[in-house]
Amino acid sequence: MNKNLTVLRDGILFDNPVLIQVVGMCATLATSTSIINGAGMGFSTMAVLVGSNVVISLLRKFIPDTVRIPCFIVVIASFVTIVQLILQAYLPAINDALGLFIPLIVVNCIILARAEGFASKNNWIASLFDGLGNGLGFTAVLVIMGAVRELLGSGTILGMTIMPEAFPKTLLLIMAPGAFFTLGIFMAIFKKLAKKPVSEDEE
């Protein structure tokens, strides 16, 4: 159990998918315009990640090594389709806001990287925790970035105005360039604060 908790913690903090592993950038940049969008994307990705990690881990003895990547992709794409249909049915507003990026969860490198790097080598319980940890780490970054961009860009939190009228809204932050700036500054701060020595291996 202890090992599972370590896996969970590493996913959220020391191996944070966005800030340390630097995967899944497209979704991070595109959907962190507000807290709601960030949370919607984060939890959708987490659902796919947990589902695909567990299934792939259970099937890892049956999948031949040579065709494993196509098999993983089919499993992942099935989960994405399930999530997409659920969102269309019950949360159409979020589905419209995220639009193209829901089907694009398939090619989010986080999921394939965890499938290849973790789920195909570990049992399903550890894989479940790995999926949860990475999913939460991803969601946390999206929500915090969404909060910063929403607060400074449009002066609201969760759609409620909280900044005074006179507050100069930095419209740039909710437009495309703001995504790059926010993420760049976040990474720099995280690099400074992360206790575990960060290996400097950028590809």
Partner: protein, 192 residues
């Protein structure tokens, strides 16, 4: 005329990197040198154009015909993965020199979201065959333009003195942000 506008809109106004956030992983990953960036760009143009054609036929001839449009995500990603594999084998046999040049980038392209992104956009906007191809060329051209320009900047950043915690990805992202500001200047230029 409409096709030319579609092409220019893809390259400048709706640039995949700077306004749509598609294909950021290879954009950050292989933009350290101008030559490798250009290689990646050419490989992406090649695969995207083929993928546009292939997914167009798969969608209209298979998925629509059998009424299973909701399976498009699975169908498209399989088509793209198979296509990339096939292109790799074909180039290896037919043109070893091109394979040398593109080889390492080809497998990476399967997980480039720009490829799946352009296929899904074509489908959602109901583009016909020609429009799909032109949209693909425009999008991929914009990607190539962005990655080559960005690699040029990164080559220079290497020699600059930057704060310790900004080294590597953070400064690259800030640079990309500034480029994105300049691409904002194109917005509203073309209305489709």
């Amino acid at each position: 005329m409409r096709l030319i506008l579609l092409l220019l809109a893809g390259i400048f106004v709706n640039n995949y990197i700077f306004s749509q956030f598609l294909g950021i992983c290879p954009f950050l990953g292989v933009s350290k040198k101008v030559e490798t960036a250009a290689g990646m760009g050419v490989a992406v143009i090649f695969v995207i154009v083929l993928a546009c054609a292939a997914t167009y036929f798969v969608y209209n001839l298979v998925l629509v015909r059998f009424g299973i449009e909701y399976l498009y995500t699975i169908a498209f990603i399989l088509v793209i993965a198979a296509l990339v594999q096939f292109v790799e084998m074909f180039i290896k046999k037919s043109s070893p020199s091109l394979y040398q040049a593109l080889g390492v980038y080809l497998p990476l392209i399967t997980t480039n979201c720009a490829v799946l992104g352009v296929a899904v956009t074509n489908m959602q906007n109901g583009y016909n065959f020609i429009e799909s191809i032109v949209n693909g060329i425009g999008g991929a051209g914009g990607f190539t333009l962005a990655i080559v320009l960005f690699a040029g900047i990164r080559e220079r950043i290497e020699f600059n003195d930057i704060p310790k915690s900004f080294e590597g990805f953070p400064i690259a992202l800030i640079g990309a942000g500034i480029m994105s500001v300049s691409f904002l200047g194109f917005s509203g230029l073309i209305k489709l």
